[in-house]
Symmetry: C2
């Protein structure tokens, strides 16, 4: 039997965007601006949903970016956070990017993680999560965040992962709203619009 | 910038195993036996953790198998269920394998899903989840199931996904126990053994 396989491959425009970006992302707002622009370009280029993410080291060096690729890849697991986590692990050559707690890496995401991405975070080795828009912002345009525990920030904190919310939230929300203006597909199962 | 990419590629032995297996998996026990044997071979061949999964159609035809590949792929998102979901979507050419509710597919997993895989299930389009071993069985050998809501089977049921637990549980548990005998690595972050 010829086994199926799937390659997680970022859209080509990501390479050019990174080359044109600053080499240093000094503040967490700078880093969030970078991932918000990823989400904006992702809808402008029509390469996926209105979500971006990235793993940075503590000095603000980009380790790996991620964008939502559910529709073009025909793959429901390819949310921006999952892509950024998988590719950061590929770059660093380890499935626990903290390497047993020795290194600190941050996951930035333009919108609070859904139930799947939330569940993926403790396995990734990231030590901090920084979010732009929140669950209500995603839900307000029709996206479903899934069955996530109520006290999700506390649950991550209990596992040594700090969470910072609402960083550049208005900018992140503006991309979600623009996705609707562009007639973007809200791709929850059974809710094609 | 040369963008990182990652290919989700099953171990080579999976092809031979499928060719040697029955073409028809009549009962849910037959289908669970198939995925339990996937998990057993995965530890014997040392190609990952003691977990297997597969997507089947309602007539028992195999759509795509999955095995845990966290360690060999250096990728924490490659749990067996995630691999089976992603590859089934690749085979069928759609991110919602139910295609808006028109088709019924089952996800079989040798052990109750962790928080990440649980969160991934509503996005996949599978209409039924069948589990072998349970959370306590995984935890008894040291695996961490993550912060999952208490009433997870009800949460899936509320989304139209039926859950059947404890199918061939003893056989599934025997693979978990054998993993420990083989001195398998319990690879939760910060808990190398």
């Amino acid at each position: 039997m010829l086994l199926p396989e799937l390659t997680i491959q970022l859209p080509e425009w990501v390479s050019e965007y990174i080359e044109q970006s600053s080499n240093t992302f000094v503040t967490i707002e700078d880093r969030m601006d970078f991932v918000i622009e990823l989400s904006r370009k992702n809808i402008e280029q029509q390469t996926g949903g209105p979500f971006g993410a990235a793993v940075f080291d503590v000095d603000g060096r980009l380790i790996a970016p991620g964008v939502n690729m559910v529709i073009p890849s025909n793959c429901s697991i390819l949310h921006a956070e999952m892509v950024a986590i998988a590719l950061a692990q590929k770059v660093l050559g380890r499935f626990d990017i903290s390497d047993g707690g020795k290194y600190n890496f941050d996951l930035f995401t333009t919108t609070e993680p859904c139930a799947m991405c939330f569940g993926a975070i403790p396995w990734s080795g990231v030590r901090r999560l920084i979010c732009g828009a929140g669950k209500k912002d995603a839900e307000s345009i029709g996206f479903d965040e899934g069955p996530k525990i109520e006290n999700w920030t506390q649950a991550l904190s209990d596992r040594g992962i700090d969470v910072i919310c609402d960083v550049q939230r208005e900018k992140a929300v503006s991309v979600l709203n623009d996705y609707i203006k562009y007639d973007g597909w809200i791709y929850n199962p059974n809710s094609k619009t």
